[in-house]
């Protein structure tokens, strides 16, 4: 165990850096560029019960220090992920991977998680509760403590792997949702998912994105993410993964000081495909700079 190692829900990571779901595919695009075994782990592309194309294009818009996406969970569906993507991943990644799961009903989540639970390389299930609940009037599971807890319980019932619930920031009280998930048996919390945003094309007098709105991510949302990670990690006993606009080794340390045990990096991968590798390489010098011996010593040091 080196000075960068952390323990995430019982599994040791060489370092706390985790590419976030939706920005890293199933890993192999990046494995062509660098040895992705340098990562702590990564969270693979959000997987649903059935295959999805996602939303109509355009589904990307640029913002100051960030971007909006409305991809809409394009993925080949859990059966194909298991049959086609995971075997490819196994050839380029020899660590436990984080399986990111989405659903549109409680049964969807349970179905997909039960399938992925049987996959040896899956170390953790990261459950994205930001999707609309089709049986609950379309409201996102993540905006209602009861619905988030219900999803957590359903997933816990079908897996023995650690369950990390990924929370949406588009709520009035994220702490109450995190606590509800913890009480329902979640082994960890990750936050924040993207913030709902919108851009307008002045020439066309129309939204840039066909779906009108989408998820805002990138460096611009970092302070909001730090604040929410701080609030949640002070309210729950389970580990918290911090994410939202992390773009540098110093951002990783800031997120961990706020209370994160590990850190996910999303949009930065899309601008610099080597971002995670570069950040991992910069961490030792950055620890020296701030007189940190082992990175786990700073988790939640901010009171």
């Amino acid at each position: 165990m080196g000075r960068l190692s952390v323990n995430l829900c019982g599994i040791e990571l060489d370092n706390p850096v985790i590419p976030a779901s939706g920005t890293f595919g199933f890993g192999y695009e990046f494995a062509e560029l660098y040895d992705i075994n340098c990562l702590g782990t990564f969270s693979f592309k959000g997987t649903t019960k059935d295959a999805r194309f996602g939303n109509p294009t355009p589904r990307i818009a640029e913002c100051a220090m960030g971007m909006i996406n409305a991809v809409g969970l394009q993925n080949p569906g859990v059966e194909k992920v298991i049959a086609e993507e995971l075997p490819k991943l196994k050839k380029c990644f020899n660590k436990p991977v984080m399986a990111n799961v989405s659903g549109f009903s409680v049964d969807d989540y349970a179905y997909t998680c039960e399938k992925l639970d049987k996959e040896e390389q899956v170390g953790w299930l990261e459950v994205n509760v930001s999707c609309p609940n089709v049986h609950g009037g379309g409201m996102s599971f993540g905006t209602d403590p009861k619905a988030a807890a219900e999803v957590t319980r359903a997933v816990k019932a079908v897996t023995s792997k650690p369950v990390i619930v990924k929370l949406s920031p588009n709520v009035t009280d994220i702490v109450s949702i995190a606590k509800a998930c913890e009480q329902a048996g979640a082994d960890g919390i990750s936050l924040i998912n993207t913030m709902l945003g919108m851009r307008i094309d002045l020439n066309k007098r129309q939204p840039v994105i066909k779906n009108k709105m989408g998820g805002f991510s990138g460096a611009a949302i970092f302070p909001v993410a730090v604040r929410m990670v701080y609030q949640v990690s002070n309210a729950v006993e389970i580990p918290v993964i911090g994410m939202g606009g992390v773009s540098s080794a110093e951002d990783v340390i800031e997120m961990m000081m706020a209370g994160a045990t590990a850190v996910e990096i999303g949009a930065a991968n899309l601008i610099n495909p080597f971002a995670c590798r570069d950040i991992i390489n910069e961490l030792p010098d950055t620890l020296d700079k701030y007189k940190i011996n082992e990175i786990k010593d700073i988790i939640g040091v901010v009171e």
Binding site: G22, T57, R59, I60, A61, A64, M67, A219, N269, L270
Partner: protein, 244 residues
């Protein structure tokens, strides 16, 4: 894909708002005409994808139209400026399907990728016809450059101020082995309807990463979902599904 630092060696206007930039750096990852590069610009979050017009050893040529903040910034850059560029993106055109007498159709800033394609086809001894479409005479560029390659060049303008009045499809020769095209979507649709042979189309879409990671630019095709940036931008006629 490679991340390469390029140095600008020339950046000049070809028309009122179309510029040609030549850059010096490692072009070894650019393997096919129709590929693109993705350029990081200071202060802008997303990179700017621009199609490759030509490569010559360590020299990369791109032609871009000023359409927004990014391309406006680029138009003001001076020689010697260093740019962080991801190179060798996208599939590019498949030359092996082009036959002996291909026709290449480029509309507006869809013209540049046709240059390297024409050059490669001529090198292979093909008889290449090129149809360049513009709105009006003042927007025309690269007619002479294509002629210098040895192509049979026809120019069309929508307003009839130069060459044949109309669209690129109004100038299609009676006989050709294959076609390749790049331009705005209405042009691509017209080419799709007007051509009798197989062919390849280069598409545009708003991209996040440009290298297949974010799924921002996906489209539906006959053979499944494809990412314009990674599985495209060039698609074959037979696999295209038009969506309105």
């Amino acid at each position: 894909m490679k991340q390469v630092l390029f140095s600008i060696t020339e950046n000049i206007p070809l028309t009122e708002n179309v510029y040609r930039m030549t850059l010096s750096g490692d072009c070894s990852d650019i393997t096919a005409p129709g590929q693109f590069v993705n350029i990081k610009l200071d202060g802008l979050f997303l990179r700017r994808p621009i199609s490759v017009c030509d490569i010559n050893g360590d020299e990369l040529t791109i032609i871009y139209k000023v359409v927004g903040k990014g391309t406006e910034m680029m138009s003001k850059m001076s020689e010697g400026t260093i740019l962080d560029v991801l190179t060798g993106l996208g599939n590019g055109y498949n030359l092996s399907k082009c036959g002996e007498t291909p026709v290449l159709l480029g509309g507006g800033v869809g013209v540049p990728p046709m240059y390297m394609l024409a050059k490669r086809l001529i090198e292979q001894g093909k008889r290449v016809s090129v149809i360049l479409g513009f709105n009006t005479k003042s927007e025309i560029f690269y007619e002479d450059e294509f002629k210098s390659l040895g192509c049979d060049v026809t120019v069309t303008t929508v307003d009839g101020s130069y060459g044949i009045k109309g669209f690129v499809t109004d100038a299609l020769p009676s006989d050709y082995s294959y076609f390749c095209c790049c331009g705005p979507e209405p042009m691509l649709k017209a080419v799709f309807k007007s051509t009798k042979t197989s062919g390849q189309f280069s598409f545009e879409e708003r991209m996040g990463c440009g290298f297949g990671a974010c799924m921002g630019c996906s489209c539906k095709t006959v053979t499944g979902y494809k990412r314009i940036c990674k599985d495209g931008p060039v698609l074959e006629k037979e696999e295209i599904l038009w969506e309105d």
